[in-house]
């Protein structure tokens, strides 16, 4: 370490970033010391982000609109009868870049995981149900685009139960072998799921 308290604090803070180890943190600190203009610019952008980025009041995606309505919720070109439920705002970027979807979104901000204290009340599930109920039957299908893991499965089960009384089609993303992959290298659980969900050609 530097044995200079301010610098050691910076190294320590940078090392808290995901995927940044102590050695990288030291290297990044040196870069910041050598580029004071960059450091200042970064600070200003961080401040701007802290001050201007809010959650959309409808779908809970990020937005810089002070009215708290995001770009997608505002767009007249999106199919209002489709709603895609995702765990995190970053999932929206991924789905948008796939080009396979043109409906609306709803961000849960997590998945149900009782072990980690993520109960349904801590997610935007109440808001989802309220939104569906107040849509007056415009929404026909809810696509659950949650992760393909235990927390995702729990969330699908819970939401399916909650939404079962409503006249809605509830779907989830197809699970199976990823594109371009070799059957030899696919894990057992994926192959099992791909077999039981096989489709007609």
């Amino acid at each position: 370490m530097f044995k200079i308290p301010t610098l050691d604090k910076l190294v320590h803070e940078i090392a808290r970033l995901p995927g940044v180890g102590p050695k990288s943190a030291q290297r990044l600190t040196h870069f910041l010391l050598k580029n004071p203009n960059y450091s200042e610019e970064l600070r200003e952008t961080l401040k701007l982000v802290e001050e201007s980025i809010v959650l959309c009041k409808t779908c809970f995606n990020y937005t810089d609109n002070p009215e708290r309505i995001c770009r997608i919720c505002q767009s007249p070109h999106r199919s209002a009868e489709l709603m895609c439920v995702v765990e995190q705002p970053e999932d929206i970027l991924q789905i948008e870049s796939s080009g396979g979807y043109s409906g609306l979104y709803h961000v849960l901000h997590g998945a149900i995981s009782p072990l980690e204290g993520m109960t349904p009340e801590k997610l935007k599930i109440r808001e989802l149900i309220k939104r569906l109920d107040s849509a007056d039957g415009v929404i026909e299908e809810v696509i659950l685009a949650v992760d393909s893991d235990l927390e995702g499965d729990t969330t699908v089960l819970y939401l399916n139960q909650e939404l079962s009384e409503r006249s809605l089609k509830v779907t989830r993303l197809a699970q199976g072998i990823p594109m371009g992959s070799d059957i030899d290298y696919i894990d057992d659980r994926t192959l099992h799921r791909a077999l039981s969900h096989r489709t007609e050609v």
Copy 2:
């Protein structure tokens, strides 16, 4: 990308950090969005570093002393007859943690590289010579602890020539096979150097 200018700017700026690609930059941006307290703390530490860290007026290492004298130059426990010349302040940390040195330092802030526009005038060489001349013969040995590459070799040649008229011992770090390494895997140039610099046992 987010299609939110402020967020895209942050991703772009984070991606300028060494070793951070566009995907990591996006991930770090999400982390910062989810941890506004962390973001604020990081900004404050960056500001503190920008405002308080200066170069030592003697050796050009970093210091938070407003008098611009670093911890090592101030210490009465360092051997004043030894001076170790390094390329970057981070090299001092490395040499200190090796535990093999207790003299003073001088940071050049680079190495001679005419191709990259790093001429001797852009380094702290003038300051080094002035420092040696004003030390009144206290300094007996100058250890050139520069990198073992073309730029380091050029710097050694240049400094050796500049210092040759003075009654100083000029040395450089031993070059050879690193500790714990297997001769099988050593590159030709290192092995060549290790052979010609072989030591008596």
